[in-house]
Every structure is written in structure tokens, then in C-alpha cells.
Amino acid sequence: MGLRLDYKTDLWVDWCPGCGNFGILTAMQKALAELGLKPWEVVIVSGIGCSGKTPHFIYANGVHTLHGRAIPFATGVKLARPDLTVIVDGGDGDLLGIGAGHFVALGRRNLDITVIIHDNQVYGLTKGQASPTLPAGVKTKALPKPNLQDAVNPLALALSSGYTFVARAFAMDVEHLKEIIKAAVKHRGSALIDVLQPCVTYNDLYTTPWYRKRVYKLEDEGWDPVVRDPSERPVKLARAIEKAQEWGDRIPVGIFYQDPTRDTLEDRIASRIPSYRSLPPALQRIDSNGTPIVGERELKAIFRDRLIRVKKHH
């Protein structure tokens, strides 16, 4: 396997034929190639399940983590190397069920990470149980009875958590999704893309034809998601949350909200640790040929507030 710039690996992609994940994978590979990023400058971090395998199919650094924990793993990578492009792939159960706390926390931080939700309303790899985005009362084919629990709205949750880029896309419209991924990666701050991803095996309600009939593009209707001045924030945010409620006969896709005026977590850290951007944690020297750079003298200097000089006696 030589170095490749098309972001493809030679592994067999073991998703079901017709799975929405193929659209997401292709859109990601194209977006990364078009952004001109080197594969080693990119880290794809995933949770578990079908979507969790995504990093293995992309020729870039891949970290396939635990159920629900992709965001914290990605957070560690990004904090240590803020210059890397970090993208999270996770299912709706992963990011909005078991990992919901992390999902909210990322928004609070506005760390520069792009989160892609593979939103298919079911737990696929465990055979089709209801996920946190499946509405109450519906019965997909694997469910023994209609769903008792109602759906969370990923966009509204992201907006109220503080994400500064919030979008929705349709997995089967690869070109459109690719452009949104590019915009999300370029955005400085926490970005969410909720991708409507048909599960051909377990979700017989929200199918590709069902979506095709309903989705429309926000940009086609002149939607302006961008906050140009912090004073616009409350109004644009409220409008985006309202727009996020639209679901049914017409389903909007596109960028709902984008606020480039907020500082990122990296900005806040850099304001306290001046060398953070130029010498982030992973790139600092900690030794000189095996000798710690913090030696006895440095230790006393750094912790001088804990050092007591003994007085000579009278």
C-alpha cells in the first residue's frame, strides 16, 4: 500500500449494498482530496458500528474508538495537535444516545472539529433497534412493536449546545454533501453535519426514495446562515432552531447556521499559554538526549511558590 492522495484504501467496504454510508464515504474522500489536505494531516475518528468502520476505508489517519466516545478521543487529538484536521464519524445512536454528553460538551467548547452523524434512525449492526432519532410510534421492520421513545432533533441540540456550524445533508446527494463537508472543515470551530443516511436493511420507512421526494436545499430558497457580527447571533440562532423543526413533506438540507465570530477553544488556550499554537503539546521538546528539560533548577523555578528557604538561626 503506497502513499495515496485519493483517500481510498484497498479494503473491501463491507457495508450492505445500497447503504447510505457509501455516499458519505465518497463525499468525504472527494472533499479531502479537493481541500488539498495531506493524508497525514487528517485524523478521522469514529465510534462503533457500521459508521465506525469509515476510517478504515479512508486513506488518512484513522482512529476507530469506542461506542459513543469518538468526540472525546478526537478532542484529545485536536488539543495535542491543533494544526491537524480532525473529523468525527458516528452513528445517531453513538453520538446522540450513549455519547450525547460528549456531543453537547463539544458544542460548549467550540473546538475546531467536524462531526458527521450517519443518521439512519436505527442501530444497524445489532439488527435494527430504534435509535435516538427514530420518532415515537413508528415501527421499522425489525422492531417487534412501535417505538415508545421520541426522537431528539440533532440540529436543534447542536444549535443549543453551541456548535458554530450546523448543517444537514442527504447521503445520496454526494456532490452537495461533499461541499458541506468542505465548508465544515474550513470553518473554525465545532461543526455538525447531520447526514440523512438510509439503512437499506433495517429502515424500511426512511428510504432513499422517501427522502428524494422531500429534501430541498436551503440555499435554493435564499437561506442566509452566516452570523457576520456577534449582534446578529440571537436572531440567526433562533431562526435556525425554528428551521430545524421542519420535517415531513419538505425536509431542508444545507447549512442552517454558521457563526465564525466566536472564539474557539484553541484560541482560549492560546490566550493563556502563549506558545500553544507554535508548540502544541505533541510538538514540545520534553528532553534533551534523554535528560528532562525540567531539571532541578527548573523544577524549583516553576514551583517556586511551594519552595521555602530555611532561615539561618539566631
Partner: protein, 637 residues
Amino acid sequence: MEEARFLLGGPQGAGLETAAQVLTTAYAVRGYRVYSMREYFSNIKGRHSYILVRVNARRLPRAPREGPDIIAGLDAESVFTHFTEAREGTILVYDSGQAGVSPERIPSMERELRKRVRETLSRGGYPPTVEGAVTYARDVLGARPLPLDFRGILGELSKRLGIPAFKAKRFANTIIIAAVAGLTGLEVGDLREGFERRFPGRRDVVEGNTALVEVVYDALGDLRGSLALDEPLEPPGEYFVVSGNDVVAMGKVVGGLRIQTYYPITPAADESFMLEAHENLDADGSSLGGVVVFQTEDEIAAISAAIGAALTGARAATATSGPGFDLMVEALGWAGMNEAPVVVTYYQRGGPSTGLPTRGGQQDLYSALFSGHGEYPRIVVASGDHEEAFYDAVKALNWAERYQLPVIHLLDKFLANSIVTLEPPSLEGVRIDRGLLAGSAGPEYRRFDKSGGPISPRALLGQEGVVMWYTGDEHDEYGHISEDPVNRREMHRARMRKLEVAASEIPEEGERAVLYEGGSDFLLVGWGSVKGAALEAIELLRGEGLRGSYLHLRVFEPFPSRYVLEVLRSFEEDRVIAVEANYLAQAARLVAMNTGYRVARRILKWTGRPIYVGELSRAIVRIVEGGSVEEVLDYGA
């Protein structure tokens, strides 16, 4: 006298922690060695807390010890909680204005204690009041009561400073600090330095406290200096005045830590605060870098983020306690599976569940060793005192990278919260070992290449010209999922074999277990903060003609089986005694598991309070001379 011991009590939030820092600093300024420990409730304000301070002119005291020379109570509850700890000559300082208070009037007192106090006093025919308790301590135990008029003292302060009475009251905790300092002969200036350290830049607070010290010194009259300590013997030029939490933070900085993640939990969080307060590593005007201290939304995120950072090559750690560690376990397995160098600093407290959240114990050895599904290699190292904790923090970071696995550094609340004067540690011979790195890797790089042995050259996320994959699934050498049985056989074996490599490189004798030889009358087997009490008890008993030794277990994985068995066999079987702050004698059972040797005698304590030197000594005598096989300790309020 060579050593003085005092116990200062008062309600939580009234400044006992400040007292510990101020007094430790003041004695350190004079060159004394100080050990102080703190007991407190899980409560912000109002419940009883106390500090126990040992000041020694010759050497650093290592553990709490019974028989305080002074018991100083800020309130009535302190008197009721501690009067039975007085012995012949103990000076009992209390507020004469509280003399008539009875336990029933103290809502913060726990019912059990209230009942015990009543019973003790009524048995001896004393009234259930502070006065009664003080008289009991005088008549029955030989204590010397020293009533101070707190109100009068604060009134005098308000007069001297020209401040209203309610403002003077804020300095109340300094009355007992000053009483202790005055009785032991500290100068006003020594205490002043303690206050300046504690309240940097707050001149009015320093002035107010110093003025109060003078008022109290006047009130002590002839008693001032009556417990004067010997001049300190060969004091060093400098001391660090640090807690166990502090020294771990300092060790991590030397060891190159650059990311610390944490979620607030007692008794671990102070370590992260210490790091954050020193996040810019500035020495003499030049920057040596910075440590990012990151508070996460929970412990799962804390360890996950630390692992993510570790994959990029940053030295990364998280610090927690039992309940937090429980949440980290799944990710710990991921680190094991992916050979990620991460350090978990694990401060044990009383469990299970929320247990005794602000008290100590050694109940989590098995949790550290065996938690998690599946098999994966980990190193578990336990520190016995501040000095060990400092060096272990460096070692843990080195081992994590050298063997590419999670390292758990075990400490406990007793160590975390005790403050000592520590001579600046020597860094002679301290190295940074980053292990096998794939610095010149290219497109053919395979993260889990086992062709050269169980430890693969490690490239870092973001390294130019290299990509790699990680997964919690079983994987091939590229890091891609593989369920192939032959691959599984080899990969699993390779991961586990890293422990054998570690075992072959880390010496058993002296590093994974340490024998303190003092004679063959008995052998104590312990670990962690048992060390201090064990060594002092051995010394105490030597004066009584019993000569014992202590085997200190340091690294539990890989376990030093050969050396431990050799040491155990060199003692009479009925003279080998396990000493642990738990119910199961966890380490002793682990010894049996690893060596087949069963330690049949044990001294255990699980009250959440540390093992005291005196109670341990008496228990040893009962086993060695009285034929007892198990002793359960319970000293301490």
C-alpha cells in the same frame, strides 16, 4: 524535645487547611521537618475537620501517630471529638466561652459520636459538656486544660486593628494556629511568613493574622515556649512544602507531561489544579513550554481525550479516584488493545460506591489490576510516600511509552492530602525514555508491525508522510480489523508479551519490591502509604527489643514474584504479617496468587482513617507475642 505533635480541629470551611499550610510553612522556615495530615467530611461548611501535625527536629515523620502534645479546638465539637485522644501532659486548648456547650447543641455532630461521648462522660460521672470533657481529659488522662477566651482575644484584635468585631471574627482560626505556634516557641515572624505564602499579595489578611498571633502570644503568658522544640539538626537550605497531589504534579512536569485531562473528584482534583496553576513552564524568564489541563464532561471523556492526545506523541495523563476510574475502564481496554501510552493516576478513597468520599483506603488494588473485559497488559505501580510518588510519576510516563501500554499509578487519600517538607528531589539519573519510535517511517508503515518483537516502532498521529489506523477491534499490523484466528493468536500474544519484556527490564529487587531490613523477629508486608506507619512501628518496637523488617510492594504488574518469594521464605512463616488498609488483605492474596505463598497473619483497617504508628505496633506485638492471627485497627476520629 525532638518532636511535637498537635491536633487542630474546627468546622470545615473555618480554615483548617490554611492552618496546615501556614504551620507547615512556618516550621519549615525554621528548618523543621513537618508531616501534616487532614481529615474532613464530604461537606463544604460546618462539619468537623482536623489536622494532625508532626514537627520533628531531626527527620521527616512518616505517618500519623497517637498522643498529641497539643489538642486545640476551635469549637466545642472539636473538644468532644478528640478529648479521649489526650494523654499525660497533653495541652488541651479550647474556647472558655464554649465550656457549657453539650453535644445535643451541636447539630453537625454525628449521632454515633454524640452517643459515645455521652457514655464515656457519664460512666466517669462527668457532665456532658465541654467543661466535663476537658475535666475528664485532665482527671482520667492527665491532660492540661488551657482555656482561652476567644471572644476576649478577638475583642482585643478588633481594638488593636481598629476594625469592627464581625471583621475580627474572620481571623478566629488563627487563635489555634497561634496557640500551637506559641507553645512550641515559634517567632511571630515565622508565622507571618506562613501567612504571606498562603495569602500572597493580600496585605490586610497577613497583617490581621499577624496581629492576632501577637494577641494570642500575650494571652499564653508563661506557657509560651513551654513545649519548645530542639533546634533542627542539619536542616537543608530549602524545602518544598507539598501535598501528595502536589508532588505527583511536579513529577509529571519533570516527566514531560503535556496534557492532563480530569473530571472533578476527591481526592484527585487538587493535582490537576496544581498543574493548571503552573501551566506555563517558565523558568528564569524562559519558557519551557506549557501543560494543557483540560476539564472534561466526565471521566470517560477524560481518559478518552488523554488517549487521543497520547496517540499524537504528547505525554498525557488523567487523575481520578475509584468512582471515576470505574468509568474509565472501557477506554483503558482500548488503550491496551491499541498499545496507547496513557497514564492514569489513581487516588484511592473509601469505597464501594460513593463510600467514604473524603477518607482513605487501599481497597482498589484489584480494581487497578483486573478491571476490564478481555486480557491486556498494564503496569500498576503504587507509591508509599511523597518521594516515591514524585519519581513514580516520572517512571509511569516512561513505562507507558517504552512498553506502549496504560500505566496505573496508585496512590491514596492519605498520601494525597498529607503535606510534608520535602527536600528538593535529586534528578540525578532521572531520564526521559520515549521507547521505540518510528521516526523515519514512510508510506509502508505498519503501526502494529511485530516482526521485530512484541513492541512495534511507534509513529505519531500527524507525523509527516505516515498514516496509521487504530481500532478497538482485533486488528492486523496496519491497524485494520481482522478476525483471522492466526492473526489473533499472534497479536494477542504480542501484546501480552510486552509485560514479559517489562518484567525482564524492571528490576524486582529494589524497584518492584523493596525490603527494609531491621531484623527477623517479624516481617511486615505492605504497600502504598502503609510504608510510613510500618517503618515507624518497626523503629518503635526496636526500642522494646523486637526487631522487624518491612517488605514494601511497589509494582503489582509485572509482579516481582521471584524476589518476593525469596524474601518471604527467609522469615518464619508465623512471623510474616500483611498490613493493609482494606478488609480482604488484597496484596497478601495477590502474593499468594503470584507465588503460592500464603501470608497467614494480617493487620487490617478499613475505617477510612490512616494506620497510626502506635496501634500498628501494639497489633504487631499481639501477633508476634500473643499468637493472634488477625488484628483489626480503628484508631482515629
